[in-house]
């Protein structure tokens, strides 16, 4: 195989870039249909209670409105996902603030808001649970028989045998808060629905087939009668993985009842308070180490708060559990984990999906372990990094090449770590501004866990037309991460064409196959591989037909396509996912090959802490990762930079303020994400050890940066100030209290 690639590894400009920079890209609220009604959702404010009545106050021309309640649902009143516990519209009981109770539609969007204000929901409150501890203690049973959505126990070796021989035992508890995805385009959907033609929705979403499945259940219609079209999507990050099924269901129900096109666009306030957030977490570590700092045993207890309904909590818990022990060799590991119910709006997918939570705890804990042993944080990692041939905590033998030592050295060198660690204490002694540097070392598995990819059975299709244009049909969505461009590059590389000849079809369930959801860092690695395979199959067919000769150019390709189609009618290749034969995962014991491939990384953060105000500033950030193959350098670096910025927010400022299960700071003014002045230079470096099963050797990278950023910053703050950080976000208020308590 030639090493020279002509598309792979090139920063091909974004396929839909021109539309985006001229304002001609069409997001859901830019679509106009004639005769459209606006839709709005009436929500409750009580965290838990029985619905006694719904009252429509005078002064509104109610007869002009379409009103939908649970009784209007043709199929099952649920948002079908893993299970069917979450209602589309609350019927007898509400289980979280901002739960949807009824829907209104009207042609006048201003009058619609007046009407929304004029609906009074009468609720008899029931006792509610807001804290994970209270849920575990079963102060109230609010979900199922024990408030637990899911639990796992993952074991390797014999943890309890190690304590007696340990030179040191280090314990710690670490917490992470909720985080709002804050895509700049709020959620929105347009729907048309009737019994004859079925249901069509257009909207901002990541997973057209998730929405499709949910609508099938909601309307009790056959699959062919439901159509889901993804519009240009202004950011998702997981926040548009499962939630769009809810808003699509709402728009479709209003369309069904009114017989008109209905558009629902959330304003920012509603989007913030009512939709999913990252699961809050609490992790307890108990670690046994030898005198030299070799890990003997890791006993980890991991709890996440799932909110009021199950949604995706079992899967978030799964990823968090598997990533809890990191890229280290330890013969005895036990992870006991659970996702619990509280009366808050359900928490959901957010880039990283459980791993940012457990990795924060681990990487912060290991710095403390190093301090206890009396060695540097980097030396502790060196003595424990996993190597090829060794076994990860869940029993997977590392069969890919990995060199964490080299990644660590490179990251430390690029960040000037050693020099700064020497210099900062001297400078700090003369200044109220304390500087520090810290790092995190981690891995992130790409694709669905274990047998997940097999279960998804994703497909992608490549088709050629008479003019030589190549079309890629996949259910994977573009939301800024570069799906369209990367797929075009992969197909173009396989076919020895230019990207301009490759067209990526807009994901429309009536046209494209189910490629699985656009999540889990799987789109390039798993679906991109299907695209590559399909494109190669097309090429093979053309060559075997005799119409295409080796060394062809674009014009010859076009001619060959025409000739082939004239003779055979059509040329397309549908490829279905094949699970690698050497990957085995046991769901029952939670052991085996969790992921086909891992990205490996070391991130280094330099911070300055102004002790007068306890404000933390990230001054420099180095991100080094091994990712298999960088398909598009600009896009790949963009993913890391954007993820690091989200990680900075996660670590320092993105604080959800809760009051009885409700977010009270649901405004962009009060929920603080980084501006251009809040990010440091973010320096990104890639290494490439090609992954045999990835397209052109690529592994997944989308979620990786969310795992290592916050712990690197926390470790840097600890280095700068000498104080212990146990929770994020580390707001100035919290840090100020900690600094004060140390000085007193």
């Amino acid at each position: 195989m030639a090493n020279e690639t002509h598309q792979i590894g090139k920063s091909v400009p974004r396929k839909e870039g021109r539309e985006k920079v001229t304002g001609s890209a069409r997001y859901v609220d830019d679509l106009r249909f004639p005769d459209t009604l606006y839709g709005a959702t009436v929500r409750n404010s009580v965290p838990r209670g029985k619905i006694l009545g719904i009252h429509f106050q005078a002064g509104i021309p109610w007869d002009e409105f379409t009103i939908v309640t649970a009784k209007d649902i043709p199929g099952k009143n649920c948002i079908a996902l893993l299970i069917e516990d979450q209602p589309c519209l609350a019927d007898q009981q509400v289980n979280h603030p901002e739960e949807a109770i009824l829907l209104l539609a009207h042609p006048d969007k201003y009058l619609l808001e007046e009407a929304r204000r004029a609906v009074r929901i009468e609720i008899e409150p029931l006792p509610a649970i807001f804290a994970m501890e209270d849920s575990l203690a079963r102060k109230q049973l609010i979900w199922g028989e024990d408030n637990i959505f899911k639990s796992y126990q993952m074991e390797k070796g014999d943890v309890d045998s190690a304590w007696s021989s340990a030179a040191f035992i280090v314990e710690g508890q670490y917490e992470t808060g909720a985080q709002e995805q804050l895509y700049i385009e709020p959620q929105g959907m347009i729907a048309q629905a009737n019994a004859t033609e079925g249901v069509t929705v257009w909207g901002s979403l990541q997973c057209p087939y998730y929405v499709h499945k949910a609508l099938v259940r909601l309307f009790a219609l056959p699959k062919e009668k439901i159509r889901v079209v993804q519009t240009e999507t202004g950011g998702g990050f997981g926040g548009k993985e499962e939630y769009p099924s809810m808003i699509a269901g709402h728009a479709a129900l209003l369309a069904w009842k009114s017989g008109k096109t209905v558009k629902i666009i959330y304003d920012r306030a509603e989007d913030m308070v009512a939709t999913t957030k990252r699961h809050p977490s609490r992790t307890r570590h108990r670690t046994a180490v030898t005198r030299e700092g070799k890990l003997l045993a890791m006993d980890i207890d991991f709890t996440i708060d799932g909110g009021a309904y199950e949604t995706l909590s079992p899967v978030v818990l799964s990823r968090g559990t598997i990533h809890a022990a990191g890229p280290y060799e330890c013969l005895n590991v036990r992870v006991r984990s659970r996702a619990v119910a509280t009366n808050a709006p359900p928490h959901g997918a957010f880039r990283g999906f459980g791993a940012p939570q457990s990795v924060f705890a681990l990487e912060r804990h290991l710095d403390r372990v190093a301090a206890t042993v009396g060695i540097s944080p980097e030396e502790l990692r060196r003595r424990n990094f996993i190597r090829e041939g060794q076994t990860l905590a869940f029993g997977q033998v590392v069969r890919e090449k990995v060199d964490m030592h080299q990644l660590l050295e490179r990251a430390l060198e690029l960040s000037g770590y050693h020099e700064k660690k020497k210099r900062f204490p001297l400078e700090n002694s003369r200044s109220p501004i304390k500087k520090g540097i810290g790092f995190a070392s981690f891995l992130h598995g790409a694709g669905f866990t274990g047998s997940g990819e097999e279960y998804l059975a994703s497909e992608a299709l490549v088709r050629v037309s008479r003019d030589g244009k190549v079309r890629v049909l996949a259910g994977s969505t573009e939301m800024g991460q570069g799906t369209n461009t990367v797929f075009a590059q992969i197909a173009a590389e396989a076919l020895a064409l230019d990207c301009e000849q490759i067209e990526i079809l807009q994901p429309d369930t009536a046209q494209v196959p189910n490629s699985g959801p656009t999540v889990a860092s799987r789109t390039t690695m798993i679906v991109g591989k299907l695209v590559e395979t399909a494109a190669l199959a097309i090429q093979k067919s053309l060559m075997e037909s005799g119409f295409l000769k080796a060394g062809y150019d674009a014009a010859q390709f076009a001619v060959a396509c025409r000739q082939y189609l004239d003779k055979f009618g059509a040329l397309e290749s549908l490829v279905k996912y094949q699970h690698p034969k050497d990957l085995h995962w046991d769901d029952a014991t939670y052991q085996g090959d969790a992921y086909g491939a891992y990205a490996w990384a070391v991130y280094v953060a330099e911070v300055s802490v102004d002790t007068r105000t306890a404000e933390v500033r990230v001054e420099d950030f180095v991100a080094v990762q091994e990712v298999g193959k960088v398909i598009n350098p600009v896009l790949a670096a963009g993913q890391i930079e954007g993820g690091v910025a989200q990680g900075i927010g996660f670590a320092l400022s993105e604080n959800v303020v809760w009051q009885e299960g409700r977010m009270i700071n649901g405004q962009m003014t009060n929920y603080i994400m980084p501006t251009s002045m809040d990010v440091p230079p973010i320096r990104v470096f890639f290494e490439e050890i090609p992954y045999g099963t990835g397209p052109a050797g690529a592994k997944g990278i989308g979620e990786l940066p969310l795992d290592g950023t916050a712990p690197a910053i926390a470790n840097a703050i600890a280095n700068a100030t000498g104080v212990d950080i146990r929770e994020i976000p580390i707001t100035p208020e919290k840090l100020s209290d900690i600094l004060e308590s140390v000085h007193v």
Binding site: L111, R612, S676, E733
Partner: protein
């Protein structure tokens, strides 16, 4: 958009006199609307009960910055961008320039006005502490005539100011000091840009032979209104800002301000930081 927009009226008076007559006809019926950076946010959130607004944005009588040897007079519709661009203000009233630069974003600064900021009377506003330090006076006009009030004392409580329903703020006048003061401004916000202040400290002092001859200290976000820390100033006045003096001043400050817990920050944090900023100010002026 949470408000019922069709119920809101906006009239555009042709000049200041016309505007004042409309406001006098039924005091409180028509409220002035300048750049809209506060009022439109309330409208969006469904929190603007008042429905009738006078668009004063084009009133030429309310624009301009006039300089005389004794004063700089800033007309009420001066935007933060206008303040930032003005060289003399940057030289002689740097706290005001700093405050303007730290308000919102460039887009907000192009529309937000000093008059609007004063009339909105938020205790978290960024410019009022600077205006207090500079002994600002306000020119208020109505059909009854003109009156001047010192900005100090303009507030009587949370969002309660001595502006009558039929009055418009016409200008803010700052006396020019002909001796050299040290200036210090620090806004501690929720992030480095586009931030609501958690604590805002503005201070200026004149030192003679190492002693504080004159001092002004004003804070935002630590009380129901922006305030001059008069008692704290008293502690510093006449003394060298030694560690002991600074400590006494910090203790006095704790009694003068009443910070609260809210969704942005805590009372404890605000108090601590206000005291730290006071110490930083004293360090700065002593140097």
């Amino acid at each position: 958009m949470r408000s019922y927009v069709p119920a809101y009226e906006m009239e555009t008076p042709r000049d200041l006199s016309n505007a004042l007559h409309l406001m006098a006809r039924e005091p409180g019926d028509w409220k002035p609307f300048a750049g809209g950076t506060d009022l439109m946010v309330l409208l969006e959130a469904g929190k603007l009960p008042h429905r009738k607004f006078l668009n004063i944005w084009n009133l030429r009588e309310l624009r301009g910055i006039a300089v005389t040897p004794e004063h700089v007079t800033i007309a009420a519709l001066t935007t933060y961008s206008d303040v930032r661009r003005h060289e003399l203000l940057a030289r002689e009233f740097p706290l005001l320039s700093r405050a303007a630069a730290e308000t919102g974003s460039i887009a907000t600064q192009n529309r937000g006005t000093l008059g609007g900021n004063i009339a909105n009377a938020s205790p978290a506003a960024d410019s009022p502490p600077a205006l207090l330090v500079y002994d600002a006076e306000l020119e208020l006009v109505s059909t009854s005539g003109t009156r001047w009030l010192p900005y100090q004392g303009f507030w009587s409580g949370y969002k309660q100011i001595a502006l009558r329903d039929d009055e418009l703020i016409r200008a803010i006048r700052l006396p020019r000091r002909n001796n050299i003061w040290s200036h210090f401004y620090r806004k501690v916000g929720t992030r480095r840009a586009q931030a609501i202040s958690k604590v805002c400290f503005a201070g200026a002092a004149l030192l003679e032979a190492g002693r504080v001859a004159e001092v002004r200290i004003a804070l935002g976000s630590v009380a129901p209104m922006v305030l001059r820390a008069i008692e704290t100033e008293q502690i510093l006045r006449g003394d060298k800002p030694t560690a002991a003096v600074v400590q006494r001043a910090q203790e006095t400050l704790a009694l003068e301000i009443t910070p609260i817990d809210d969704m942005r920050s805590t009372a404890r944090y605000r108090l601590r930081i206000a005291q730290n900023l006071l110490a930083e100010f004293c360090e700065r002026i002593a140097a």
